[in-house]
Amino acid sequence: MGGYILKRLLLAIPVILGITVIVFLIMAMIPGDPATAILGSYATPDNVARINRDLGLDKPLVARYFIWLWNMLHGDFGQSFSLNRPVIDVVLERFNNTLILAGTSFVLCTVFGILAGVISAARQYGLADKAITFAVLLGISIPSFFLGMMMILFFAVDLRWFPVSGMTAIYGGGDLADVIHHLTMPALALAVVATGVVARLSRSAMLEVLRQDFIRTARAKGVREGRVIWGHALRAAMVSIIPVLGIQAGFVLSGAVYIEIVFQWPGIGRMLVDAILQRDILLVQGGVVFVASCYVIFNIIVDVAQSLLDPRIKT
């Protein structure tokens, strides 16, 4: 097992290096530059050259890449010009906020998705199955940003149960209850689609397992149905559910961008969108490398978890 993990970690290094090259090249190739973004209509060649010199963008491309990589290996991600703060500070702070949002949604979609899927499968073609399938299809079909806006209109503007946006109350907030209060709507809106997907796949995974011999054997032995479903069947079905959860984690993380914009959640997705529009090169690069590395590591964790559940996978 240790060897497997080490191998996967070593394989991750070229992947992350590849990411640095790609994100660097993309930022270098997209039209428009930081100087134009700063100066707007005032971007004369003279002014642009002056700003580029101040930002160190007048060096050759290859040199810039290696300076950036070298600094990053020393823990220096550079300074964001649009926010005037060190990139790593901004990225960590924002990523933390995104984790609160995406993490909550991930837990919600895992719990409710598996729950719905198992109930559906256990009562195939029953009323509960039909109701859940209908709800799931509806959930999958509604774009999360639209759902978010509708929730704002109904629960925040009309009923005033929840705040419209932000992560803490603007006046005298900041404790846990306040954050949960602000988190509820965006986390639900973000979880809906993923819950649907997890439910659909849990249902089919469970149905497949429930038809197998060992389930019949268990029932024949007189094991209680609840134990058959949650103990025997779900455990076996988890092997195919876990990779789906891995993919959904990525989905929730990327879906957070829309939700963060709609609900003004101060997360990394919104930060990256703003940074790209302002051509804040170092911030985009640092943010993307950081998120991508987390994603790579998360995938390793999922693979390891899966190989623990199903030893056949390990190679």
Binding site: N47, L83, A122, P163, V164
Partner: protein, 529 residues
Amino acid sequence: MTKFTLTRRGLLISGVATGVLMGTGLPSMAETPPGVLVVGQIAEPKALDPAAVTAVNDFRILMNLYDGLVRYKSGTLEVEPALAKSWDISEDGKTYTFHLREGVKFHDGSDFDAEAVKFNFERMLDDKHPFHDTGPFPLAFFFSSVDTIDVKDPQTVVFTLKEPYAPFLSNLAYPTGLIISPTAVKKFDKDFGRNPVGTGPFTFKEWRPNEAVVVEGNPDYWDTPTTLKAVIFRPITDANTRVAEMLAGGIDLMVEVPPVALKEFENNTYHLVEQAGPHLWFLILDCAKGPFKDKRARQAANYAINKEAIVNNVLEGTATVAAGPTPAAFAWAHDDSLKPYPYDPEKAKALLKEAGVAEGTQVTFYVTDGGSGMLDPVAMGTAIQADLKAVGLDAKIETFEWNTFLGKVNPGLDSKGQHVDMAEMAWMTNDPDTLPYLALRTDAWPDKGGFNSGYYSNPEVDKLLEEARTATDQSKRAELYKKMQQIVHDDAPWVFVANWKQNAVTNDKVSDFTLQPSFFLLLKDVKKT
């Protein structure tokens, strides 16, 4: 039986979850106390160092923290004394002597004096200044005409210009000219932008990234102090969310209300404020190549486009029809006798025929998808395309993201192997000199470092603009600008489309709020219960 267990467990879990969620939902939202004003901003500020920023969004905060030597008289674009009590301009228009207000202190307790003024401008303009590295200062060229700054005595500072430059005073009234505390710059160095210290009606309290910038009323302000205890600026980038926050009571004042949301606020609970500003939305026409080389074809484009419809239907009345190159907000320099080109497709067709432009001629039309002051560029571009089609011009739209768009348009419509017949553009300026000087002169063609991307050239206009820039007498300048407007109106190097009216909404707890033609957000005299 067993199936019942399942459902019960499921019910229990979802019941608890719902309870938790509802429980946190029940307490009513904290209302902001009287005297605290919450303002919905359109983005997170970049920095609060007036010399280092360029965005109107940042200016909205800065104008409340700092003062300049001069400021715009409320409701106009004419300068009046602020930190300078008075000033003298030499005969040749090159020496400006400012007499400073006495007893003014920065928020950190240090004195505002002539040395502080000198420090401010040298930090921006002098590469060798010890604090020049607290930049970059992208708009420093507003003051590039300054040659030397001399301290005569603590209350007198003398600016000597390289050549006469009439817009100097209005540039001083612009946020780039706001005065910061040298002591604070020395203390915070590169972090000054996050620890701003000025002399203004509000003092800086805290900046919580992506959440709020909080400023507090300054009781020792040299002018009448504000009655507000504090102002909280909240960045809310999404316009729909901003509207929802306004409706839910999360903010007291919002700027840049999207046209489609205006109806939400047309009732007694809200107060809608509008103010036309020094903004112009226009189409640059390629005067060097293609059909618009002919003046008659350019006039035809002006006749063909239904500006009333764009302003009223696309922009829902958030703009007025533009008559010429100078926005009416520059009341003293604007030629009121100038009327917008009327919508007259028949006349447009006739003019095109005269100019020898065949029916169905293709023109390339660059459109952007957003950008500072661009209003609703895609919808406006589409409306323009339809109007041109009706008179026989087949406009082919190419849409670009704002920064990419600028990268294609600013170097010139016929640069880098491209040929573009027309492109959208918008400018917000602070002096009637700026836009025409940078974008209509022959010496402002892109290859000479200007913004005349359509290669318009008229020696008469060049002469008028140079003269107006060196004349220090305002009425003389006004006369020259009016002449320039008439010529440019007739030459039609641009299609003059719209002047944006900035809008803002306040709720019924806010009173005495007005918008300024400068588009600055001044909150000193606002009251909030």
